[in-house]
């Protein structure tokens, strides 16, 4: 695989959901598949429940870790409101994979704002990009053992969308490096559920 022009992936979510871990798994998998990689978080306080956005860029040769607004090839969002916010990174060619999970921010909890209706958020995401997939990642992850595994579900879905760009074995190796041993198997199960969910949606494609 060449990837002369690097791919830019943005991962968004809420602090504590595993945005950084997801980016790191993707980064390691890309590196293990022989690519150059840069990973960085763009803002947020990772442990404090704020918005968090992270960039992963990989290809034959990469220097800049940052993705420009409207510059993402793919966006993986772990929460619906964050997906809508993160659409500033979406352009005409962007594919956006969205978990439909909803987590109310503190501004909503304290009654200062309303969480927008999910239909509104979904249509704003869909309008901002070429193709949006809305995935019940948290539901699938719960079936795999814990709702927190939804990042693995989304990575599996991403592996499907990108059609084997990075092999499953490289994601598996990355999980082994980054996740405590006892959590590797359920994460892989969640990954496969995400992958199958995509293949079910697009039966013509194979990994």
């Amino acid at each position: 695989m060449k990837l002369e022009k690097p791919l830019s992936v943005v991962v968004s979510g809420v602090g504590g959901q595993g945005v950084l871990l997801t980016s790191e798994i993707l980064g390691n998998a890309a590196m293990l598949s022989g690519l150059d990689v840069r990973v960085t978080e763009t803002h947020g306080l990772s442990q404090r429940g704020g918005s968090l956005v992270s960039c992963v860029r990989f290809g034959k040769e990469v220097h800049s870790p940052l993705v420009d607004y409207r510059g993402a090839d793919y966006i993986i969002s772990m929460e619906l409101l964050e997906a809508a916010k993160c659409s500033i990174y979406a352009g005409e060619e962007t594919v956006h994979i969205v978990s439909t999970l909803q987590i109310p921010p503190v501004t909503v909890l304290s009654g200062k704002a309303k969480y927008p209706p999910s239909k509104e958020l979904m249509s704003s995401v869909a309008d901002s990009c070429k193709k949006a997939y809305f995935v019940d990642a948290a539901g699938m992850a719960t079936k795999a053992g814990r709702s927190l595994y939804q990042n693995a579900v989304l990575l599996g879905f991403f592996a499907g969308v990108t059609d084997g760009l990075i092999g499953r074995e490289d994601y598996a190796k990355a999980l082994q490096i980054l996740v405590p041993a006892k959590y590797v198997a359920p994460n892989l199960k969640a990954f496969d559920m995400g992958l199958q969910a995509f293949l079910g949606e697009s039966p013509g494609q194979r990994l």
Binding site: L21, R38, V39, H63, S64, A84, Q102, P104, L109, L178
Partner: protein
Amino acid sequence: MVDSTLILDGAKDQKLLLLGNEAVVRGGLESGFSVFTSYPGTPASEILDVAATISKEAGIYAEYSVNEKVAIDTAAGAAMSGLRAMTSMKHVGLNVASDTFMALPYFSPKSALVVVVADDPSAYSSQTEQDSRNYGYFANVPMLEPSDPQEAKDCIVRSAEISESVELPVLVRLDIRVSHVRGPVVLGELRAPPPRKEFVKERGRYLAIPPYPVKAHEALLEKMERCKGISNSPEFVKLIDRGSDYGVICSGSAATYVLDADVPAPLRPDVLKMLMVNPLPEEAIVEFLASHKKVLVVEELDPVFETRIKELAYDNGLKTMILGKGVGIPSAGELVPADVSCAISALVGVPQPKKASRPAPSGPARPPVFCAGCPHRASMYLIKTLAGKNRVVVTDIGCYGMGSLAPTEVGDVLLDMGFSIGAAGGFAIGSKLKPLAVIGDSTFLHAGIPALINAVWNRHDLALIILDNYITAMTGLQPNPSSGLDSQLQPTDGVSLEELVRACGVKNLRILSPMNVKQSKKEIREMLDEKGVSVMILRQPCALLASQQLKASGQAATPYEIVAENCNNCNACLVLASCPALIPAGGVTEGASEKVTIDPASCTGCGFCAEICPYDAIVRGGE
């Protein structure tokens, strides 16, 4: 996160996806550093976090010092005693360390002393976006600026050699796009510390007292002359020659945007990428200027290189057009790839790519919040309830600083570490209402003690609340003297805040838990009414620390519950507590309950919401 032990155990030639900060530690291990010091601060914290974690196995000494000044002093003393030493800090930490940093180049250790500073352009986690490159020129020390984790590791190895060859401290300047970037790093070989250069008593060698400083200054200037040869060597300045009439000069993370710029390949300019930036590679720059029609200087924040390069052009009679901050490279805010692509397109004269606008994200904001069970939630409530509208509250740096944002909005002034107490003293002069200063344990120990002594000594009329949660929480739960734990999390002699406060001369001292809402309210009222310096320690462990300790002891928290028949959805708990464990009744997301509920998975059982519920509708689980 990559297991820290891999940073030590990784074999030569192994490739790891390391954070810039992790790569710095590996670089230290590959060049025989034996002493690491730091005060935690984003984006530099991980350097000492990793060093402390692996210190025992690696046979190195790693300490969180009480502040950056003490951290650099400790590292300098260790280097004077013959050990290679590294001190790391965030950009504003270097301000605290600057007294020593400015004197050290005159009286420098013989063993390597490397100061790693990590800048935070866009001030994501800082009070300013200060450009620390200015310190490299201000103190006039060799300065290296890597652009990615691999270079960061290699820079540390080279900086040790430079430091010892010219006997000067070396400044390695990182920014968030190196410190907090992961990239592939090919490991080198670990190296044992070089033979210790025992400290030799030489009169004047380390004495910053007349008549020595002027001679030492002359020696420094001569050493920096010698460094020019190093910065001009191919290892430290790379030329990408594409045969263009146009050129770009850059370094650090700015160089990564230049190398990836969205400009058609045949039109790409030549690039001069610098790794050592003090002294600047003057010969290479002059040659580059002379061979190009127009040269663009791409740098983040201040026009530090631009002004120096223009001076060089003038001195050498060069007429090359030199562009920089005037053509769309911003001086404020983090540099982004689009800015650089635009400026380079303009330089080479191609239609500029449409600059991505920056639309504001839609939907309600999601600011960071106090964790479920965080004692600051109760403290902020107490201060907000009792300080009143007109009293000035000067707060400080730490998690509680977030309390100045919505929804709590506690704190009117917040500047830098320890500012609260001194500034409250200033507000107290001629003021009718006693000002209130708020500071955390770590920040008080870092920079608050002299200010408290000053307040007592000068009879300032102020109230001070010290929020003691036993830990430096904001930067990732690093221990401090109030924790009673050392950098390896082993028990040590800590410091008693109450004894310390009394020793500062404070007569009116109160110690309470903020979770004891009723008593705290009463005593804060008293404190605000009395004259002179009054101090209250609100003491309760950080919720993250407490839950770690609980988990380690095999216990679980007892979550609170809503008694549905007592709850009338008055929302007092939601508004006053804004706790992530409290789920509002219907309307937030689809499928919510009709009454407020408590998420048992997030509730730590702190009980604060039960204290403030007017209808006694919140009870401890199982009661």
